[in-house]
Amino acid sequence: MASTGNMRMLFLLLMSCLIAGPMAGDAEAQIAVKGEIVYTMDGDPIQNGVVLINDGKIERVGSASRVRIPSDYEIYEAKIVTPGLIDARTVVGLAGYYNQQHDQDILETSSAVQPELRAMDAYNAQEFLVDFVKSKGMTTIHTGHGPGAVMSGQTMIVKSTGRTLDEALVDSTTMIAITLGSGVRSNFSSPGTRSKTVAVLRQELIGAMDYAEKRSEGESQSRDLKKEVIADLLDGKVTAMVSANTASDIVTALRIQREFGFPMVLEGAAEAYLVLDEIKASGVPVILHPTMIRPFGEAKNASYETAAKLHEAGIPFSFQSGYESYVPKTRIARYEAAIAAANGLGMEKALFATTLGAAQILGVDGRVGSLERGKDADLVLFDGDPFEYLTNVEVVIIDGSVVYTRE
């Protein structure tokens, strides 16, 4: 509860803002966004809709006939308005576009199990690629350590804006990146097989159980950064993001999840269409590989139609830009969703998966993913269908600030 004094301070602050008037790029600006179609993801799309933004948050959403735009609001207009788009798994910010050692911090190869590595300690908020994906409409990104280790480290959620980590940060410790399959043995001499990878993973989980138990009982013990974060996983405070592409690795991931009961998402899942029933029964959501992933290695059986099949099966899923070791150095999750949209999924379902669907999987749907009163004012203004090749992003708004304009 704010004290009376604080309330007065707030009043004076608000007054001074009103006097200063709206300013582009200012979080306190009051903005009205008018769209020929506004996809709120909270009910049907609104024809001739209006979104009012005040103090970084969404103030009101409705049809132009019902929402009056206050005279001091700065007005932006577009053909299509959507919530800010969400990349459910990327490495930008830890991986930079030069692709040289100095800007690649996604995989530490000194040990195959390092869940204590925090994404925020390696995030470059001013990385060119972060700015680049923002210009394509991606406003929230789940970024962090890459695939390729049993536990490569942590991931976090940031907005694709801000000069520093603190300005960008939404959630500091979202998931632990775990990899099953042959991707591990190419980076480490041990584990050297897929089954040893699973054994190492299970041993680490079992090893942290005692730590977690003592912690919950308030027993004093020396801090162990690695066990601490695995205990957080066992306690359900963080989520395991398990990279698994072949059907057998997917089923193995689900087996481990059943054994330990931690919250989990599947990442990659190139052969998910072979084990839809098993995934559905587990309740585990999928962060699907980039639709246009090259059909090599463990992703050789990838299909452009997997997203549509996940949807038909009722499995929650979202799109990602993933990890690229060469060119292009990052993909654009919106472009990956577009190919799925054109291969059986359809435009509106692809849009759901890149907005509210992604926010739900990442656990940030209270803040982002839809245009609803009180949520962060993250919006993208398009001149057409967001997935059509020739559509342009006209304006990107994050937390009520205009952070990109095409002109």
């Binding site: 930079g96 680049f132 090259r294 090599f296 050789k300 993909r331 054109a342 090749y389």
Partner: protein, 433 residues
């Protein structure tokens, strides 16, 4: 040898003629984009014996009486796409034993049954320049093929020169890719010196042949490397030169001008920095678009506006996939990405078809829909520039070689279980682009 080759070519052509439809085929109702003429909103395309015999507005073209008629109302027909730089077919890349291999033929290692050919068809590609990699100064001879179903690579060849049997170009590279860990070449200048030295040798070899004046006694001993480079010096075999940085582009042009060979600049990532010089030189550019910059230091300035700036400068350019860098299924999309950065739609379509054909000396046969040309075309479900448009059918020489409605064909468009075998060779190429 050449006689045998010619005979082989004639036999192949005869076999193709036998296979081709003996009844005329008429495609009616589609929007036809002939490339070399205005788009026709309600068009008619007539094919006989694998060749186009007429293209025009409905009513303006007489329909042969005994024709097979195809109603393609609402569809879009454009020429088959020409890919000027690809690595489909699972052929071998560069041989690490030396830097210069003009004698090496990728033809000898391509698998005609590779699923990558079906993948290319599903992307609407009907002519393709398959090249060895860019890790060497000269990695070998390229091959121009049509990705049609075949038992042997010979059946797929597009012969450029009936006299010599030449069916491809010569791959060269400069910049950082051909620099070798053993230090030779270790620098750009040494790379250029090694290439120049070899062309000087080839000039001398060519002079000896000319001095011999068909006297077998005076002919120099056969040398496969020199024979290939003589073809290059005579303008019969075109060099495809991988190059990224603007100064490397200028170096490639300097060498080609010194020795007078014909050359296509490949990738040309910083072409936009020297677009006027490229246009003035007359060397064509084969370009790529990518979804984001970065990943390869030397190509960090590869921007999708490259094509638009080459268009503004008046240079001849075409798109390539460099499959697997861009999947063959997305070459059409690559052109749209350039339109997004300001290129005209007409030029983007030309750069997918006739421009590439011109660079490979096959524009008399493919690249546009005109009477007398090979009946290589794609039937699209709609606007070529829309993400929601699919390639519905691909035709080569009057034969339907891919049909999205056929599940056995469709799977190559979508991918899925055990459709593409993972090739270690291709995977390596991703790192050695």
């Amino acid at each position: 040898m050449k006689v045998i080759f010619k005979l082989m070519v004639i036999m192949i052509c005869m076999a193709a003629a036998v296979q081709a439809q003996d009844r005329p085929q008429v495609f009616e109702g589609a929007e036809i984009i002939p490339i070399t003429g205005e788009a026709i909103s309600n068009g008619v395309l007539i094919v006989e014996n694998g060749l186009i015999t007429a293209v025009g507005e409905a009513g303006s073209v007489s329909i042969p009486r005994n024709a097979d008629r195809f109603d393609v109302t609402g569809k879009v027909i454009m020429p088959g796409i020409v890919d000027t730089h690809s690595h489909i077919g699972e052929g071998d890349g560069g041989d690490g034993s030396a830097s210069l291999h003009p004698d090496v033929r990728i033809l000898d290692t391509i698998d005609p049954r590779s699923s990558t050919f079906r993948k290319a068809l599903s992307g609407g590609i009907t002519s393709v320049n398959i090249m060895p990699g860019s890790g060497l100064l000269m990695s070998g001879q390229t091959v121009y093929v049509k990705p049609k179903p075949a038992d042997t690579i010979e059946e797929m060849l597009i012969i450029v020169d009936e006299e010599t049997g030449i069916y491809g170009g010569l791959k060269m590279a400069n910049g950082t890719n051909p620099l070798r860990s053993n230090g030779s070449p270790g620098t750009r200048a040494k790379s250029a010196a090694l290439v120049r030295k070899m062309y000087v040798e080839a000039q001398e070899y060519k002079a000896k042949i000319e001095e011999a004046a068909d006297d077998p006694e005076k002919m120099p001993a056969r040398n496969l490397q020199m024979e290939t480079l003589v073809e290059v010096l005579e303008g019969k075999r075109i060099v495809h030169n991988h190059t990224h940085r603007h100064d490397d582009i200028l170096t490639a042009m300097r060498l080609a001008e010194e020795f007078g060979y014909r050359m296509v600049l490949q990738h040309v990532s910083e072409g936009w920095k020297v677009a006027d010089e490229i246009a003035a030189s007359g060397f064509p550019a084969s370009i790529i678009t990518l979804d984001s910059p970065g990943g390869k230091l030397e190509a960090i300035n590869l921007l999708n506006k490259n094509g638009r700036m080459l268009e503004e400068a008046g240079a001849l350019f075409a798109f390539h996939s460099d499959d697997p860098i861009v999947d063959s299924r997305f070459l059409l999309r690559s052109a749209v990405m350039a339109v997004k950065e300001g290129m005209s739609r007409d030029m983007a379509l030309r750069a997918l078809t006739i421009n590439g054909a011109m660079m490979m000396d096959i524009d008399d046969r493919v690249g546009s829909l005109e009477a007398g040309k090979d009946a290589d075309f794609v039937i699209l479900s709609g606007d070529p520039f829309s993400v929601y448009t699919h390639v519905e059918q691909t035709w080569i020489e009057g034969e339907k070689v891919w049909d999205r409605e056929n599940p056995e064909d469709r799977k190559y468009a979508t991918g899925g279980y055990e459709i593409f075998r993972a090739s270690a060779n291709q995977h390596v190429h991703v790192e050695g682009h």
